[in-house]
Symmetry: C2
Subunit: 380 residues, 2 copies
């Protein structure tokens, strides 16, 4: 099969295909300790009021505030000694807490108070944090430590979360035994970053029939097939996907990832065909496979990198009609310096870069001094 680079799909067309084809996975219960970093699948509401009862904010002496009226250093008042620890429920008839260091137990077994309190002083009032039934955390929230804390505080031991996408990574075995598989470990790292689970990671014979058979195998939520996407005799990934189901898109106007493919197998499982060249593999993952995995997992589908407006220190040149990823260095605050491209030094361009600029299809680049949106790597 020959791939005509004239008929390339636009990046937008490919993204739209992904957004249309791929839906969020279902949910499962995760123990609280394993719920961090997961996406909440349902709203969490307070089963009881929080706090469930009025309780002491700090260690001290529970009092009825009106009995402290008029108390001062010149008019110490002696009250019943009712010690309470921080967090403990207020005994009936009390509504304020004198801090431990402000009350002095006397010999008569009472406590001497030298300042007046208002009702509620040093008290956590029932329902202050949330009434029974109130929304605590919305569905779709990416759960962080503070969410885990509030769930633990309300007595929850497990949470309904979106299932993690199971990702089958298949590498079309090269005929050259000397070629190192640099893509496998990188892809596994990317899938992990996007909170997918690499459920299988295998090399497959690169003949069409073997690839088609492997693509048809079940047990995962998405399949990534690396290599064999080009126009060579030996490149059978696209025809294999066409045979195993549907080849929706093959060839995208993205540099450096022109030979990426998208489709699904006969069971409807989405398949992304990634070029074997490491830089192209990286970018076809970042823009397409990663987006699909993030969507499956209920996460924000956009690139996970932080982006900032920065000023170019030199011209960025890009071909009209191709979306191009341009690596930049950001050594001076607020500036982006274009560096050797993926075409020139492959994956090393990403290693040398502090971030990248995505030059859209319709642009031939930016002059020096232009304001551009830079996606930053976060390696600090």
């Amino acid at each position: 099969m020959r791939l005509s680079m004239v008929g390339l799909s636009s990046v937008d067309t490919a993204l739209t295909w992904i957004d249309t084809a791929i839906r969020r996975l279902g949910e499962e219960d995760a123990p609280l300790r394993e719920a961090m970093g997961r996406v909440l699948a349902e709203d969490i509401r307070a089963e009881w009021p929080i706090p469930t009862q009025d309780s002491a904010v700090l260690d001290g002496f529970a009092v009825s505030a009106h009995e402290t009226l008029g108390a001062s250093a010149y008019n110490p008042l002696s009250l019943p000694l009712i010690e309470v620890a921080a967090g403990a429920a207020l005994p009936a008839g009390t509504n304020a807490v004198v801090p431990l260091e402000h009350g002095e137990p006397d010999e008569a077994g009472r406590v001497v108070v030298v300042e007046a309190l208002a009702p509620g002083d040093n008290v956590d009032r029932q329902s202050t944090v949330a009434a029974a039934g109130a929304l605590l955390i919305s569905a779709g929230t990416l759960l962080g430590p503070r969410h885990i804390g509030i769930c633990a505080a309300t007595g929850l031991t497990q949470l309904p979360v979106v299932r993690r996408p199971r990702v089958r990574v298949m590498v079309a075995r090269t005929t050259r035994s000397s070629t190192v598989d640099s893509n496998g470990p990188m892809l596994c790292g990317l899938v992990e970053r996007d909170r997918g689970i690499v459920s299988q990671y295998i090399a497959v014979d690169r003949r069409r029939s073997a690839l088609a058979e492997a693509l048809a195998t079940g047990g995962s939520d998405i399949v990534l097939l690396v290599g064999g996407t080009g126009p060579g005799h030996d490149d059978q990934a696209a025809p294999a996907l066409a045979a195993a189901g549907e080849l929706a898109i093959h060839g995208v106007a993205l540099r450096p990832a022109e030979t990426v493919g998208l489709g699904r197998n006969a069971s409807g499982v989405p398949v992304v065909l990634l070029p074997g060249s490491p830089a192209a593999c990286l970018w076809s993952y970042e823009l397409f496979a990663g987006r699909a995995i993030r969507r499956l997992g209920g996460r924000n589908p956009e690139l996970p990198h932080r982006s900032f407006m920065m000023t170019t220190t030199r011209k960025i040149v890009s071909l009209i009609g191709m979306t191009e990823i341009c690596p930049v260095r950001c050594r001076l605050a607020g500036t982006a310096e274009p560096i050797a491209s993926f075409a020139e030094i492959g994956l090393m361009a990403a290693v040398n870069a502090d971030g990248f600029v995505i030059v859209p299809e319709t642009s031939e680049g930016y002059p020096s001094g232009a304001s551009v949106n830079v996606y930053r790597y976060d390696d600090r």
Copy 2:
């Protein structure tokens, strides 16, 4: 023991103690697949040139560029047919590659070429990416997928990385059996976020002798003891640490985490005493324990949250002499709206917030419309 809140240390004093007392841990070798997210402990240099030899960028026909001089659609030239696959070494005597779709094998077993090539066209030249011995990744880099990719490409199977800090989390057992331990799961999540390993997570009797004994136990790089830090009779964390080694700081001018403590046990292992109230526990972790763990692991010790300049929509009030954490919502682009405080609704303030402002000791807050630095939660 009574804790005088008059003699509180400043937040800066506590941070300086941590930065002085805590050094990066040693290194260990990690398999490539497990190295992502770790901190590189030594520079990685290229053992061989990259590429090791001139090789084809794409599938096609290897040629000697000077033999293609003058080739055009009107002057097709017939050259020896030497097919090469993408990534394969160029055969001796060739220095350019005609793309597969631009060359036409003829019946004489030769290839017909219709355009002239320059030496190096479609060739990855030896050493273009890196000369032998060149620096690939600097020590201290937080390893991301692209670093794993380049290491795999150079044939590395393991990397020297900083050891992950082993964190012992101990909770001073409360006398009130009804109190749920909301801090444990949250702390484990925080330690995990900062790439520490919770090596042990136990409840300890809150008597001084029991705590002192537990603090003296080895087997971790840092100990977090939660609860019992206040001024109550029942609060024995600080005297226990003084007995088990050194109580360097007890009481910090930070709201909401005034009773935090810092020190080390007799073996020199750093110990952080965290208040048991969930909001205070969170903030004493974020500012102090987390910083210590990030330093041990060779990471950036600063808060891991992204920060942005934003405009307050209402006044933020804070007490002079106390550093205060103020939760904010960021519903309108670029604005920070102060919301119910940690003092008012505890940990729920963090759950309701999109981020927080740290008001320094010397400030009594900010008027409405002020420009403030907001640390954002990253829950998208």
